[in-house]
Amino acid sequence: MIRLQQDDFEVGEFIEEARSRGTGAIVTFIGIVRDDGIEGIELEAYHDVAEQELAIIRDEAMREFPLHNVDIIHRTGPLRVGDNIVLIVVSAGHRKEAFLGCEYVIDRLKQTVPIWKKEFRKDGEHWVEGE
């Protein structure tokens, strides 16, 4: 499943769904709002294009590695320190490809998906510079 949503997600549900009969490994990545002096963040997305780019990344990952399933859930809107930002769940026959697939997805996501992050600090707000 690919989804951009305001609501939080239940990691356990996606992990249950990711399991097929040949699955031997599930690797999960969760990105979280890190406390480095911020009070919170706001995530803005080019909604339809972001979902479309996430689907492209999933398809690329599944072409590149022998994966069974790839889910990517990315939140938008205001979030506080400790809140979930993104969930990636990758299942495969073996552990090596599950790790590689999961890292591939998060690395590409940070390069191509039109989502932006504004940080709120005591001394003001600013947009995080992408790479």
Partner: protein, 92 residues
């Protein structure tokens, strides 16, 4: 013809999230961005470099597809197109 211009993050804060503008058929991306910057010095500063070219860090999409190279200025817009303008992405 009508072109919708979508802006995000810093750019949205300057010109708003969506502007629908009326252009002559065959208008280039550069002309469309110039029209927008006529109304806003802040947008001009954010979008163009000192030489008046579209700044290299600005990302442009037409109908959800990234445009690159010469098309970032010479690309031609058509009726109903959606031109998106935004800074480098920073999700995840």
């Amino acid at each position: 013809m009508k072109v919708r211009i979508k802006a995000f993050a810093r750019f949205r804060e300057i010109i708003g999230s969506e502007n629908t503008l009326e252009f002559d058929d065959g208008t280039s991306v550069l002309s469309a961005l110039k029209s927008l910057s006529e109304g806003s010095k802040d947008f001009r500063d954010a979008c163009f470099d000192k030489e008046g070219a579209v700044a290299s860090h600005v990302v442009l999409m037409i109908n959800g597809k990234r445009i690159s190279g010469r098309d970032r200025e010479a690309g031609v817009l058509h009726d109903g197109d959606e031109l998106a303008v935004f800074p480098p992405v920073a999700g995840g």
